[in-house]
């Protein structure tokens, strides 16, 4: 299935462990809903980089909808 979100902003830095982040499909889960999106992730630590504009924009609006606010 096509990811719900593609083309994330490239991260301005590498992971704290020194590895370069890679664009990967990750599954975000919120209130029982799953969304497959493309984000930059550390291949070693598995930490996912969420750009600020995404967190304050789409992700905030999605949360608002799912929380029925």
């Amino acid at each position: 299935m096509k990811p719900a979100y593609e083309d994330p902003t490239p991260p301005p830095w590498d992971c704290a462990c020194g590895k370069e982040l890679e664009k990967r499909r990750v599954v975000l889960t919120y209130m029982g809903n799953e969304f497959t999106v493309e984000l930059y992730q550390c291949p070693s630590c598995r930490f996912v980089y969420v750009p600020e504009d995404l967190a304050l924009g789409k992700m905030a609006e999605v949360e608002k909808i799912l929380e029925d606010k």
């Binding site: 719900a4 029982g32 809903n33 969304f35 789409k58 799912l66």
Partner: protein, 254 residues
Amino acid sequence: MSGPPGLYEQEALWKVTGEVVRPGGLEMTDRLVELCGFRAGDRVLDAGCGAGAAVERLRSRGLKALGIDPSEVLLEKARRRFRNKDDLLEPEASFSPPFARAAAEALPFPDACLQGVLCECVLSLTDSMEGALKELHRVLAPGGSLGVTDVYASLPRDPAREPPWPVRCCLQGAVTRREVEAKMRQAGFEVLVWEDRTQALKELAARLVWAFGSLEGFWNSVCPEPGETGLTRRASEGRPGYYLLVARKVGSDF
């Protein structure tokens, strides 16, 4: 059917929903089939079949399914779906071809000829919900099952008194559960099951945000005139929810 273009005909929306242009997708169709208790060989109409995905699903379960839809754009997709799938066709002479162009308020079928009707995300789109239910009742055999999914309003509203929408969508015709059930009874149906499926509507709205940046961005992408504003607010008026309903035709009158 007249008026503005249908939201369900917009490619921008298909990119998010696929060809099952409604909340819940075919999972909801499967639930309706289960609750209606259809058996292989039953004649079942998908009223508002769109691109025919549910008709294909029903046929793969051995039902003699057929579909009607007022949109020629979507019917062409439905016909393409069935090309080279002879195993899914096998229609009786009187039920061929499986797709016809028609509105739910004027069905091209004789009285009492079907064991079941599915009507998914359609009733709130019709010009007359009462007229559509009357027709669905007419074509169902006595005791036949009607399976519905649709948008409803949690708060009372009067769609007829609101300004027209720039696109035809199910949010504009949504009425309350009490009104839906009253219209069902008036048309000669006994409501057997009501399930709240609002989560599926929220999940679709969330996917639209992921794809279009915001709900406002989505409405701007599907409206024929650029610069439409305020549709997100209008869409949330009445606090829309989504339901799944199963009803049975009572009485033998058409």
